[in-house]
Amino acid sequence: MFTRHERLKSTYDVVIIGGGGHGLAAAYYLARDHGVRNIAVLEQGYIGGGNTGRNTTIIRSNYLTPEGVQFYDESLRLWQDLSADFDLNLFYSTRGHYTLAHTDAAMRTMRWRAEVNKHYGIASEAIDCQQVQKAIPMLDITCGGHAPVLGALYHAPGAIARHDAVAWGYGRGADRRGVEIHQNTEALALELEERDSGPAICGVVTNRGRIATRKVLCAVAGYTPRLLAMVNLRSPIYIHPLQAMVSEPVKSWLDPIIVSGSLHVYISQSARGELVMGASLDPYELHSTRSTLDFAESLSAHMLELFPFLSDVKVMRQWAGMADMTPDFAPIMGKTPVRGFYLDAGWGTWGFKATPVCGKTMSYTVANDAVHPMIQGFGFERFANFALTGEKGAASVGH
């Protein structure tokens, strides 16, 4: 699917570290829209083997802050033509997305989100429990009696897609336009030079040799703190594992995507019939993709509160990814105090849906050395300025 390059060149105009969806999308749009083709994408493992292939593929734009809502809505719009763009079936499937509310406080947040969403023209509304029951007849609306569903935020454009295909589509599109994709290639160090204006990027040392470059885009999710340490930057990013699991395939019964913040559950049914399920973050820092029985047990228990009839369905596999979390649950994107070092990070548990718009905005930022207007609310400097972009209320489940 990708051209194999025996060796790295000595110089590239742009080096992208991280061959996941975000890095490959940036490469694709740099080559397609900005005429930058002398690009190397460095991936320490294989394409799409990180968080791109480990998420639960939910796509939605019903966020809370004006910055977030507009940004994710643009991403949703891009998703819809992506299959045609790539000539590759992404199995993009619009399902509708219900965020259940079990408390008055949660209902209030749903109404808040619905109003912000509607103001920006996004299909999003707060509905009551009768409407929820009608839409999801298999749901035990009382949750066994102790956490009854009061209502939900309904977001009709909510969708799922095949995550591997997203990385392949962007990768193949970039590859055809001359971008070099180097798998099994790890960035070991970043070289800086001191200029009057401060430090600037001048090279990347890899396990396959040194590359000279003036521009590096870092899109490495859970490895972000290690890369930042190479350029002597501190950040608020902390790493917790996020786990997920799938059931054995069963006959199709669940069309929409269901999320419950209070019960720490999200669930959808894939085209193959598997139930794709996730929960909240692991409760402490860990740089590992190990799975735990605690997770499978507690997620299953909550799942059975919503859908008791699933008690005989077997869990087929579980896995984890390393989520790069931020204090305000918004990403960190754009320029950094190191000239030529661009960051697309802080994607925590919410990065998959943003893949297309991240590629678009980061390619613009890298090509023009100017932050794209749509990502100005996500800047690295917002913490030092005490100007956060509070998106926690729109996180899929309570963290």
Partner: protein, 86 residues
């Protein structure tokens, strides 16, 4: 089930404990610059390695310090906080 040793209550299941973040010295709020204070409030040493962390045994409310490797999740030792030991 993963086990952690509380310095007061002995070995217990990890589900009895709550994580309280890395042990970090607080700058003097009166003397710190805005930049230093923002660094303390928001920034973390997110790189993997052996760290000292606050943990709480929730049934008994005991706060203590655990030394843990954040790459392997191995708990190296636990002890009650003593300012002199940092």
């Amino acid at each position: 089930m993963k086990i952690m040793t509380c310095p007061i209550n002995g070995p217990r299941a990890i589900s009895e404990f709550a994580y309280g973040g890395e042990l970090r010295p607080m700058p003097d709020p009166a003397a710190a610059t805005d930049a230093d204070w923002a660094d303390y409030v928001f920034n973390r040493s997110g790189v993997a390695g052996v760290k000292q962390e606050w943990w709480c045994h929730t049934p008994s409310g005991v706060w203590f310090v655990a030394e843990r490797d954040t790459r392997t999740d191995a708990i190296l030792r636990t002890f009650l906080y003593q300012p002199s030991r940092g």
